[in-house]
Point group: C2
């Protein structure tokens, strides 16, 4: 096959060593019937002696499938991605499928490169946390039979399965919680506005304020990068000035980290509800109140959708929406006077 | 090629549509010379019209390599694995390679299944956080030319490249730090003793105690599962009884989480140094003192070793050992009286 794998024993070598025909070896290797126990034992002994291993890639490619799935994340190092990834892996494993993973780094061009690289390896399907705003580049792949499910954020400009969190509802609930604790001036610190989840959470914030009949000062809203310095600048802006906010809804786990790092410098300390849970949230003083997503449930839902498609389900694209859950722990229950 | 991908356009289809020969299409697709600009334009137009995509798996297999790497983790959902994974991915990307990932769940049998499944897809190499105690199952794969680098823990019963943290030195430094703050009775809460890193960190604990001339009561040592209930039981045991410890070295991030959850129930509160850093460690009260590994540096070192091997480096197996770093933040600086 090549120089690199020239030293790999082949089925022919096994047949020669066992003193049987090639077809017999093939039957044993592929678990097919029609081989006597004695023959099978001789083949197994030759396999063990030579260290022969079946080449699944070649075998699967001949069958027209690869028993592999491409999982495209924003950043595998983010805890949200890690939990989602583990859940997809477990579903894939039940279906005998291996997982390619890759991180787009919130870069549409890199998302496309990775997705097409997975497709060029003929993955059976893709699970995608999309970074880009135009997924028409996938149309030839979908037409050729690759299944694709979007997760966390929907596909753009194509119609595809998606597993999402109820971002509007979750943000609305977080803001309503702050309003119930007496806050009237509430900030929303979100990720960049072109990110679907950020835009949806902003919408939930606006809806909750409108439902309570509260005006929104646009100065209370920051849609910005999530690095600590940017978040600190946003915190300073919304808590400074003539009418500072008394509470903050932070739009994702990275923004929450930035806010938490800035809070000790502030007096009075604004109430805080974070979108996304954090591992040590209950051990902080005060405990961190969050609107929690369930990344593992998202991953499972997306992978289940994918394998249903691979099993032949050709119903119109589905959208599964999972609820977000408010977990009060202290930081979101302080009143406007900081207590 | 198959029923499933029967609808995919082939190079033959492109040649027919463009009105050129198959060899011309092949030259354009593979970026080879010898095609006039006019011909190339006609081929590109046919490719766009038909939605043709090169099949990289078949192409790479013919060349005897797959431009893919298998990364075997303990649990991709663990932040340590996530950071390590991202670093491996970035190095692989620079080398034009895609990543299969899988989680062994600390199960030796599952590690072997996954590693061999990756090999059966003819990955060029493996990066393995091993769970098992016998890696001879990889010998036929290594003989056939698959490169393997172990990370976080070394291979067992085979000689292979490894990128490790200085676990003995890190634990020794953590315990010496507690001793410098006046502690004499110090507990070590580690993971299961068959796990290499757990055994090494226990060794570092014993060395630091011996260096300071301090006796070790075996009741101060717990090598146990890392679920919260087990850790809580270990904490209660070492802080109870006639001669309770005044300080704890917790052996990894999951054990530290368990200890942190149990501490509020204890008075006096023992001093704590955790092996592995945690994302909110600096925001706790007191801040969490840790012996920090650098999972991204481990991943980079392992991936660099791997790609050096794939580039033809056939020097004897190397072991790279990275330092761990003590970060004092408060919890490890309290004296034996709890202040």
């Amino acid at each position: 096959m090549s120089t690199r794998y020239g030293s790999r024993p082949t089925m022919k070598d096994v047949a020669a060593t066992a003193g049987v025909g090639l077809k017999t070896v093939s039957r044993v290797v592929n678990g097919e019937a029609g081989v006597t126990p004695d023959m099978a034992a001789r083949v197994q002994a030759a396999i063990a002696e030579l260290g022969f291993r079946r080449n699944d890639s070649a075998r699967l490619l001949r069958k027209g499938r690869t028993a592999s799935v491409g999982l495209l994340l924003e950043d595998i190092a983010d805890p949200f991605s890690g939990q989602l990834s583990r859940a997809v892996e477990e579903v894939a494993r039940m279906h005998g499928s291996l997982l390619f993973t890759g991180s787009s780094g919130e870069d549409a061009r890199h998302e496309q490169e990775l997705a097409l690289a997975f497709c060029a390896r003929r993955v059976d399907g893709l699970v995608v946390v999309p970074a880009g705003g135009d997924h028409r580049y996938l149309l030839p792949e979908l037409a050729a039979g690759i299944a694709a499910v979007f997760v966390d954020r929907p596909a753009q400009l194509i119609d595809a399965d998606a597993a999402l969190t109820d971002n509007v509802g979750g943000a609305r609930e977080g803001v309503a919680h702050l309003i119930r604790h007496g806050h009237r001036r509430i900030a929303f610190l979100g990720d960049l506005p072109q990110i679907h989840t950020a835009a949806e959470r902003l919408r939930g914030y606006r809806e909750a304020m409108a439902e309570a009949g509260l005006p929104v000062d646009e100065a209370w809203i920051a849609m910005a990068p999530t690095d600590p310095a940017s978040v600190a600048a946003s915190v300073d802006r919304v808590t400074g000035g003539a009418a500072p906010v008394t509470a903050v809804l932070s739009g994702n786990n990275r923004i929450t980290l930035g806010v938490l790092r800035r809070l000790p410098a502030l007096s009075p300390r604004p109430a805080l509800v974070g979108f996304d849970d954090l591992e040590l949230a209950d051990l902080l003083t005060p405990g961190l109140t969050v609107v929690a997503q369930d990344p593992a449930a998202l991953g499972r839902a997306a992978a289940d959708l994918l394998f249903r498609r691979l099993a032949g389900d050709d119903a119109p694209p589905r959208r599964i929406v999972l609820p977000a859950r408010l977990i009060p722990r202290g930081s979101g229950e302080a009143g406007p006077d900081g207590r």
